[in-house]
């Protein structure tokens, strides 16, 4: 049974995850899906950019256009994955509305379907978001098929346009399936059923992009979710030492003394086991590295301040030096849960 707890997004059934490219959208979307599935829920994870990033991350063969179970969450939950192919989604459409499956397949072989989604990029986006909407609304035996849907979405620079399908198809057909689909999509995406989360690093460009993205989403009336700060490195110096370290004012004598006490330096004033390396050189190197570290931490703090100005719930995930594998995903999911993102 799903455990009821006070998480931050109780009404949300569609979690859209965006961010500057390379900040960790796919990783965070997957971790969030696992977190949401924990305790016995069914969650669908959607990929829309045709990169098979989910298959790589979960270490399974490339996903077909078909929902597949990707992972089991703690407490019996399940995460399913689907890589949405706009061409296939369009064929589904032609079949549903015009009974055109066979002609559709022929057109696909000619490359015509690809052509159609290229001349009108808005159509492609409506098909992708339409699939998300359908999964959110889908029911089985009177209950929702999925408790939540998580979308690994396009990057921040394109997200508002991608989700704001109404404007996108404004110049297209005024009636017909694409139009009504766009309206139906907006009913879900523009409502409190949806939250658009932004992934960032504590670096200037991604934080700037996040702020721009939040502004654009708000202007388009789309529901801004939380900010996930990814790849955070813990500050190693105490707040008191931080300022002195940055100014290179740490006491070299104390450091030398401590290093000797710990056996790193010898009584003869050299690096243990390396008699040709003077102690002073090692101490100077450590002080320099401490200054660099303090500088980074200070910079990160100012990025945190900028993020705070956005006034959104914020979650942090640590930098994992060995990279992200399936085991690490469970760890990241648990961290999102303890911070009440799920």
């Amino acid at each position: 049974m799903p455990t009821e707890r006070a998480a931050d997004w109780p009404h949300v059934r569609l979690h859209v995850v965006t961010g500057k490219g390379g900040t960790g959208k796919t990783t965070v979307a997957a971790a969030l899906a696992l977190a949401l599935a924990t305790g016995g829920r069914r969650v669908l994870l959607l990929e829309v950019e045709g990169r098979q990033g989910l298959a790589q991350l979960f270490d399974v063969p490339p996903l077909p256009y078909e929902e597949r179970r990707l992972a089991v969450a703690p407490g019996g939950g399940e995460v399913f994955g689907l890589a949405i192919d706009p061409e296939e989604a369009l064929l589904e459409y032609l079949e549903m509305f015009y009974n055109l499956r066979r002609a559709g397949s022929a057109l696909k072989r000619m490359g015509a379907i690809d052509f159609a989604t290229t001349i009108a990029p808005g159509v492609r986006d409506v098909l992708l978001t339409g699939k998300a909407k359908e999964a959110v609304r889908r029911k089985r035996d009177g209950a929702h098929s999925y408790d939540a849907v998580v979308m690994d979405a396009p990057p921040t620079g394109r997200i508002a346009r991608f989700l704001n399908v109404n404007t996108e198809v404004a110049g297209l057909a005024r009636t017909g399936p694409i139009r009504s689909q766009a309206d139906a999509v907006m009913e879900v995406i523009g409502s409190r059923l949806t939250a658009v989360h932004l992934v960032t690093l504590l670096e200037e460009m991604p934080v700037q992009e996040t702020a721009d993205g939040v502004r654009e989403l708000r202007a388009a009336g789309l529901p801004v979710g939380g900010v996930v700060v990814n790849q955070v490195r813990a500050p190693l110096l105490s707040p008191a030492a931080q300022g002195r370290a940055r100014k290179r004012q740490l006491d070299a004598e104390t450091i030398t003394h401590d290093l000797a006490k710990a056996g790193v330096l010898t009584g003869a004033g050299t690096l243990a086991g390396r008699p040709h390396i003077p102690a002073a050189e090692v101490v100077a190197a450590l002080v320099e590295e401490g200054a660099d570290h303090a500088e980074r931490v200070a910079l990160e703090q100012s990025q945190r301040d900028d993020i705070a100005l956005l006034e959104r719930p914020t979650y942090e995930l640590p930098f994992l030096p060995e990279g992200v594998d399936l085991g690490a995903l469970y760890d990241l999911a648990e961290r999102l849960r303890t911070q009440d993102m799920a």
């Binding site: 390379g22 057109l107 052509f115 017909g176 450091i255 710990a262």
Partner: protein, 385 residues
């Protein structure tokens, strides 16, 4: 600083100054995966070349805000502007690509006023010039072509940054993909009814085509098709074809005065991208200057290994010493571990591409935001030890 070069110890070193001083080299293209430091590298190379006496123009695509300000890129006129504060006898001009504007200007330069106005007002053109996949790459190439045609009198070296695509190969492939699409058979078929000769051809394939247009107009509305038809009708014969134009700019990248600099961070994904790109350059006979490994971990105390440092930190914490020294030891251990991890990743690249020359830039504590920072990056690029 020691350690930086150690990340790629077995590779030949890229002689950046020799590259920048070589008067035969007139175009340097910086490519790589997103976020690795392409824009920074392009700006640093351009400044260094200028301060070594060359007349340089740098075409940036998406500079970080503060860097853009220091380069005077706040005026968005889509044309190079002189950069203030450059030392020496050379000169540096900089610009930031505005893709829509580049497209608009391209149309205006190639069509009479009336026809240009029709094209610019066409809804399909507007979507093509502002939101199509590949347009940014196409226009970056187009702008490079323009700068090249103006070179000689104004500049003797063009340094180009490339768009922030996921894949570095997009810069090479996207323009041709877009060109083929715009010159493709469906676009031609749609445009055909507008021309007399088209009809006979149409009759032959009309069965399939009928289904095609009827499906399209059901989906998109008849207006969209009309827009595409008008667009194709008005650009026809105008540019000598989009694909041909893309082929021409592509060929320009194979010119003997062009060099590629591939930028990578010492991370798995970025190095994989760099590998693909290097192999592609070889396959297409495009000259690679070398690889820039950017944001590499360094240490001034390479002889104090991570395990020793960590053990010492634990010991100090156990005896209750004030935490500063233990913290410094942990910071050091982290750096050494990172450096080793990066070296393993770089090794995989260098052993697959033994002849590729490498320049290494350390991970700096702060972002690269002004000319002084760019000079520092330039010095690191040119350091050979």
């Amino acid at each position: 600083m020691t350690g930086a070069q150690e990340v790629a110890p077995r590779s030949p070193t890229l002689d950046v100054d020799a590259l920048l001083d070589d008067r035969e080299v007139r175009v340097v293209v910086c490519t790589g995966a997103g976020g690795v430091g392409k824009t920074t590298t392009a700006a640093a190379l351009a400044l260094r070349a200028a301060e070594r006496g060359r007349a340089v123009v740098v075409l940036t695509i998406d500079p970080a805000r503060r860097l853009a300000q220091s380069l005077g890129l706040t005026e968005l006129d889509n044309d190079p502007r002189p950069v203030e504060g450059v030392e020496g006898t050379g000169s540096l001009a900089a610009m930031m690509l505005d893709m829509k504007r580049t497209f608009d200007e391209f149309v205006e330069a190639n069509a009479d006023t009336e026809r240009a106005a029709t094209i610019l007002a066409n809804p399909f053109y507007q979507s093509l010039s502002s939101s199509f996949a590949g347009t940014q790459e196409y226009m970056a190439m187009e702008k490079l072509g323009q700068l090249r045609r103006r070179a000689g009198a104004e500049w003797d070296l063009i340094v180009v940054d490339t768009p922030p695509s996921r894949s570095a190969l997009d810069f090479l492939d996207a323009p041709r993909r877009l060109g083929s699409f715009l010159d493709g058979r469906f676009i031609r078929l749609l445009a055909a009814p507008a021309k007399a000769g088209g009809r006979a051809y149409l009759r032959v394939i009309s069965a399939g085509f009928g289904v095609f247009t009827s499906v399209l107009s059901k989906l998109l509305g008849a207006q969209v098709l009309t827009d595409v038809q008008t667009f194709v009708g008005s650009v026809d014969t105008l540019f000598g074809g989009f694909r041909e134009r893309a082929e021409e700019t592509y060929a320009m990248l194979q010119a003997p005065d062009t060099r590629f600099v591939v930028v990578a961070a010492p991370e798995r994904d970025a190095l994989r991208e760099a590998s693909y790109f290097v192999e592609r350059l070889e396959a297409d006979a495009m000259p690679l200057a070398g690889l820039v490994l950017n944001r590499v971990a360094t240490t001034d105390a390479p002889d104090l290994d991570a395990a020793t440092a960590l053990a010492a930190a634990t010991r100090l914490e156990a005896v209750g010493r004030p935490p500063v020294t233990a913290a410094l030891l942990r910071i050091h251990a982290d750096r050494v571990a990172t450096l080793h991890r990066q070296r393993r990743l770089a090794d995989r690249f260098t052993s697959a591409h033994r002849a590729v020359e490498v320049a290494v830039v350390p991970a700096l504590a702060r972002d690269v935001v002004d000319l002084e920072d760019l000079r520092a990056v330039g010095r690191h690029l040119a350091t050979r030890d």
